[in-house]
């Protein structure tokens, strides 16, 4: 009998140890993976680990990253926003088209109002009418794609005098040696992080995402909170449209196609739970950067750009698996 006791004790010894590592990895895992990636790529490519390359990657991810910040807030609030991709097309086409017609400032103002209006429609449908967010925003994705085509008449748009306009500031300029898109992305990230962690509003978003019934029973007006997350999400899309329109100085009708999935990949990779109630924009920044550096590293190593799709998928699966494994304390599970 004593040997049995010993055996049981021995078998269990390994579990707490793995758990501790697991819990550590859960918090830092994504950062560790990120660092491992950076080191690996640096070994394979001389150009990878350079200031120039790093700042290029930051600038490249700024569009996806900016949108991902808004989507992170929607997801923490317990919903999804799949309409951001076609919303980006709409916003970019509109701001570029109006630029030559009425000047940059009025164009931006009108585009902001139009984009926020789309966010409001999402917010009313999901927040106040309590419709399923997946269905609402999936529908919105195709509705706005249609709206964009109607608006542009199927023509691609561009800005004629690309050198003279101050609109170039958002996508092409540098401030203190750092690209303006990077400033916008990281600046919004800091603001959003503070809002989520330090304000009553942020607490409400977490509460509604964590348990919407309990939030309502605590006097939190949950419809308003959900509504606001969609407005924020559409605002980040507007910011991304400025960067994109200014950088390209023109736009195709479907320029944002597929962005919703890349954005969501960044959010998930960062570790924000799709169930709502937990997550952070800092995690999302890291998630988006991982995507960016993978893409960049693969290109530098001479792979076709579409190789990134496969690698991204593998990385996401690994991240989710390690996350789940660290919660249940083992890599493989024997029961449901």
């Amino acid at each position: 009998m004593t040997t049995d006791t010993g055996e049981v004790g021995e078998r269990r010894l390994s579990l707490p140890a793995w758990r501790d590592i697991g819990h550590g990895a859960q918090r830092q895992g994504i950062l560790l993976a990120f660092i491992v990636f950076l080191i690996l790529f640096s070994l394979f490519s001389d150009r990878f680990a350079s200031w120039d390359n790093a700042s290029t990657v930051f600038r490249q991810v700024s569009i996806i990253g900016t949108i991902a910040l808004g989507v992170t807030i929607v997801v923490i609030g317990g919903n999804l926003d799949l309409s951001v991709g076609s919303m980006l097309s709409f916003s970019t086409v509109m701001v570029v088209d109006l630029h030559d017609k009425i000047g940059p400032a009025p164009a931006m103002a009108i585009t902001l109002v139009a984009t926020l209006a789309i966010g409001c429609v999402n917010g009313i449908l999901v927040g106040f009418l309590k419709l399923n967010s997946l269905i609402v925003t999936l529908g919105m994705l195709s509705a706005i794609q249609g709206l964009t085509l109607i608006y542009s008449g199927g023509q691609n748009v561009d800005i004629t005098d690309q050198e003279a306009t101050w609109f170039a500031f958002f996508g092409r300029d540098f401030v203190l040696g750092i690209a303006v898109p990077t400033w916008i992305f990281l600046g919004l990230a800091v603001v959003f992080h503070i809002v989520l962690t330090r304000t009553a509003y942020g607490r409400r978003v977490f509460a509604v995402g964590g348990n919407k019934t309990a939030a309502a029973f605590s006097g939190i007006r949950r419809a308003r909170v959900v509504f606001s997350t969609y407005v924020i999400s559409s605002f980040t899309v507007f910011c991304a449209a400025l960067i994109l329109g200014s950088r390209v100085m023109g736009s195709q009708n479907n320029v944002g196609q597929g962005y919703e999935l890349l954005v969501l990949a960044g959010v998930i990779l960062g570790g924000t739970s799709l169930l709502g109630g937990s997550g952070s924009v800092i995690k999302t920044v890291i998630g988006v950067l991982i995507l960016g550096f993978i893409q960049n590293g693969l290109l530098l190593m001479g792979y076709q750009y579409y190789a990134q799709w496969l690698v991204t998928w593998v990385v996401i699966i690994l991240a989710v698996w390690l996350d789940v494994a660290s919660q249940r304390g083992r890599l493989f599970t024997t029961t449901a």
């Binding site: 330090r198 304000t199 964590g210 605590s218 024997t334 029961t335």
Partner: protein
Amino acid sequence: MTAETATPHAAPNASDRDAVTAREPLLRLDGITKTFPGVVALDDVSLEVRAGEVHALLGENGAGKSTLMKILAGNHTANRGAIHLEGEPVHFDNPMQAKRAGIVLIHQELSLVPEMTVAENIFLGSLPKGILGTVKWRVLFAVADEILKTLGCRFSAKDKVEKLSIANRQMVEIARALVFTPKVVVFDEPTASLTDAEKVVLFEIIRGLMRKGVGIVYISHRMDEIFTLSHRLTVLRDGKVRGTRVTAETTEDDVTRLMIGRSLEGREKRAAGEPGPVALEVRGLSCGSLYRDISFEIRKGEVVGMYGLIGAGRTEIAETLFGLRSPDTGEIRIDDETVEIDAPPDAIARGLALVPESRKEQGLVLGMSCRDNMSMAQLGTVSNGMGFLKPKAEQAIYDTYATMLDLRSPGPQALVVNLSGGNQQKVVIGKWLSTAPEILILDEPTRGIDVGSKSEIHDLIRRLAGTGLAILVISSEMPEIMGVSDRVIALYHGQMAGVFDAATLTEDRLVQAISGL
């Protein structure tokens, strides 16, 4: 046999008991120790169950009962200790292994698939299949009906589980256990949602299992059930065994002392005090078929109990007062002023607070910390004009109410999901007391809570009334309603069946009122 007279319910008769105690243990847990990060959940716990014995397991919430049973059923693994079944050492990595070995746990929270038939649920994972892998439906339903018959169930194996009452769902759980020809069956709070008639059926089933030589572990908070059913009982407190007794040779007082480490004296003492002016007045409130023509008033310093069967409209009335449901007609007056309450924020602004019926679904965000949950009902007051939270103000709320309510939590940042039921309830109560309400509504404030925490909450209700709060207590437990209230409102099918002065009210009178007699 003086002990027998001390217990109101006849324990299994003496010869039966002696026969049982003489047998070899069927199941033996030896020195089980289990630690979670920062907590010793179980410390050197030993327990044995003989064939044909009902062994009751008692303890306050958080005492370690559920953890012990999860270890037995393979959901958790112990850090130290051994499990022997029929004298052989066994080790379970998962619940399936435990089931195959003959140990079945019947959960407090049911684990059925509501959209499937009873038969499919009973055989979930082991459906009888033909050579092509197709389900043999006829065999399935026939065998399932056979099992249901032995349990005395009146529903068919073809019924969808979602159509069954909670009690009948429990029967399905039991039926599912019988498929495995169990050696040991663990019942975790099986009667929590059963009516008296359904309880009788359940007890018959348990006695039937007993006669077949199955060992039974019976977890419950209800003393009367334990004294009716069990041969022996073991009490856990703070993860340690505080004593094992032969049921017939012990008393309720003795068991209570083991459970809480002190005796419950002067339960439900009333604070003498004159009620003040009317705080809340309800006039002719109706809402569709849920309740009709409800009128009552609560004075400052008064506790009003609301009693009725489930479905009598109690919770719906509370939800209406709190702005979660709108009435068709009727008037709500607070401090002599007619008020419009369209949503919970209006109610909170008017000094109302509602501790809801279900703390996990309605009361708490389980993934959040104790501190964040406690300040959730007043984010406006714990933040400045710019909307920034004031951590010190939040900490002050936590400190004040954790002390006042004797909250046992590892700290303000501990997630509420890790607390025991009683402590979770204290977080919800703290959340609402911190809003400094004038009218406090408590819906089933002690459901699923151990006797120790229960009497603390009863004392608290009386104390709060003493400070001038107007309190409405909704409960399904008659002793609670009778003990804590000044006046009792009886509800029958959504209508008022009488308002009684608690001092002169008898249980019989109250039972008649809620039965429509």
